[in-house]
């Protein structure tokens, strides 16, 4: 039985909008999710059901209000919800990877360096890292001539592929993917599906949000449904 890599217990998350007179928006309540090594769980549910909120909470980007988020880090299950900032950064560095829906663009840094950065930060030699980054970008159909350019001027699809390369290159044991194929054409969708399958076979635990039913069927071992806590606005 593959080990549990990620488990939430009674996870609850809401927002208090102080700028709107302090109204409270509950989004998640009592979420209990479990993901094993090599497994891909796809979050499903209509808009507003909290899929993104759950994903961001799993990454520590949103602060859980109650409950635990247990992550297998360094061989042990560590509660991300109770961890201090340095611990969260350490978990993100070694264990937990995240591919957001849009690339956050940093001016001046070439695409190749954007991808290689994560690998170099984990101790890989610069030459090796740049080589692997190059291979990955080419696999995602980003041609050589774009590697030295900052992604700010790339198309949405190109930016997303840089984002994917950056997320996959380091080989984190747990990956969170938010709409990994959203702006991609059929060819690139296939590449990404293959990359996800390879990651799974390496034992990576994956949580994904994916609206494309074909891709979802290709990667998901399980669906995790979420229902909105309140009627959609």
């Amino acid at each position: 039985m593959a080990p549990v890599m990620l488990r939430t217990e009674g996870l609850a998350k809401g927002f208090t909008l102080h700028l709107r007179g302090g109204i409270r928006l509950p989004v998640l309540a009592g979420v209990t999710l479990q993901v094993h090594a090599g497994e891909c769980v796809v979050l499903s549910g209509p808009s507003g059901s909290g899929k993104s909120t759950l994903m961001r909470s799993l990454f520590g980007n949103y602060r859980a209000e109650s409950g635990r988020i247990l992550v297998r880090h360094g061989g042990e299950l560590v509660d991300l919800a109770a961890a201090d900032p340095r611990a969260i950064l350490a978990i993100r560095h070694d264990t937990l990877g995240y591919v957001s829906q849009f690339l956050r663009v940093v001016p001046r840094v070439p695409a190749l360096d954007v991808v290689a950065e994560t690998l170099i930060a984990r101790g890989t030699a610069i030459d090796t890292a740049l080589e692997r980054a190059t291979d990955l970008l080419l696999r995602l159909n980003i041609p050589h001539r774009l590697h030295g350019l900052p992604p700010a001027t790339f198309s949405g699809g190109e930016q997303q592929r840089v984002n994917l390369a950056r997320g996959f290159i380091a080989g984190h044991p747990i990956l969170l993917l938010d709409e990994p194929t959203a702006s991609l054409d059929a060819g690139n969708r296939t590449v990404v599906v293959d990359m996800i399958r390879e990651a799974k076979s390496r034992g990576t635990a994956i949580v994904a949000i994916c609206h494309d039913t074909d891709v979802r069927d290709a990667i998901a071992d399980r669906l995790f449904p979420l229902t909105p806590l309140q009627d959609a606005a």
């Binding site: 102080h18 961001r56 900032p85």
Partner: protein, 256 residues
């Protein structure tokens, strides 16, 4: 003070007459991490920086620094020579106006080499070689090494200040709005430089620009009227702000 922190402050309080500049501020900084202090003008962030670096004494509270040997020093009661030595070696301070921190009638190379000479470096060739190396790292043309800073642009002056500050490999750098007053493209270059050079160095970065904080800092502290209202992981505080003022600050930022 927690075991591993590099710099810690508790209960910092300071009034300028009737104006409360700092009200019960606590700060912790760990080795190798960058802490951004954000807030609007008058929030007390520059005052906090000056108190943390020993340049301004608080009315109440204390600041402790842990030296490489692990010993704790109270920054405001340590002897003046020791604090001065600290500022010249282990610590660095990047001012908003680089002219405050540069000798305008000394060449670029002399400016970068000064801290080395203050520490006892006495080999002209080595000093010059290190100065050249740093000028290259901050993307200043090597053949400007003998030029006076008054011939430099604003962005170049700021990069020269950074070279001058980092040349002694400080463990802790204080930065006060390092990109303030610079053109957007110049800012981008400078931020890129700071990102690549200030790795594994602990830093306290004061800025009113949230985007700068997001780009550079591991943790962020939000100040309002002398108080730290929220502190935590940068992306968490900016994407899921809890305090009303933080929510206001984040929602006020224009996205290009």
């Amino acid at each position: 003070m927690s075991e591993a922190t590099l710099l810690s402050a508790r209960g910092l309080t300071l009034r300028f007459g009737a104006i409360p500049a700092l009200v019960g501020v606590d700060v912790d900084l760990w080795p190798g991490e960058m802490l951004a202090v954000v807030g609007e003008s008058g929030s007390g962030k520059t005052t906090l920086l000056n108190v943390l670096s020993g340049r301004l004494a608080p009315d109440a509270g204390a600041v402790w620094y842990r030296d490489p040997a692990g010993r704790l020093h109270d920054v405001h009661t340590m002897p003046a020579p020791a604090l001065r030595t600290l500022h010249r070696s282990d610590w660095g301070f990047v001012q908003q106006d680089p002219k405050q921190n540069l000798r305008m009638n000394v060449s670029a190379g002399g400016n970068v080499g000064e801290r080395l000479m203050a520490q006892g470096a006495r080999h002209y060739g080595n000093i010059r070689a290190q100065a050249l190396d740093w000028l290259t790292q901050v993307e200043i043309d090597a053949d400007r090494i003998d030029d006076l800073p008054r011939t430099f642009s604003g962005g170049m002056l700021q990069r020269l200040q950074i070279a001058r500050t980092l040349v002694t490999h400080p463990r802790l750098v204080f930065m006060d709005e390092p990109t303030g007053g610079l053109d957007v493209s110049v800012q981008a270059r400078l931020l890129d430089l700071i990102r690549s050079l200030v790795t594994r160095i602990a830093a306290v970065l004061v800025t009113h620009d949230i985007a700068v904080a997001r780009l550079l800092a591991h943790r962020i502290a939000v100040m309002q009227r002398g108080r730290v209202v929220e502190t935590g992981l940068t992306d968490q505080v900016l994407d899921d702000p809890q305090h009303p003022y933080t929510q206001l600050l984040v929602s006020s930022v224009l996205n290009a």
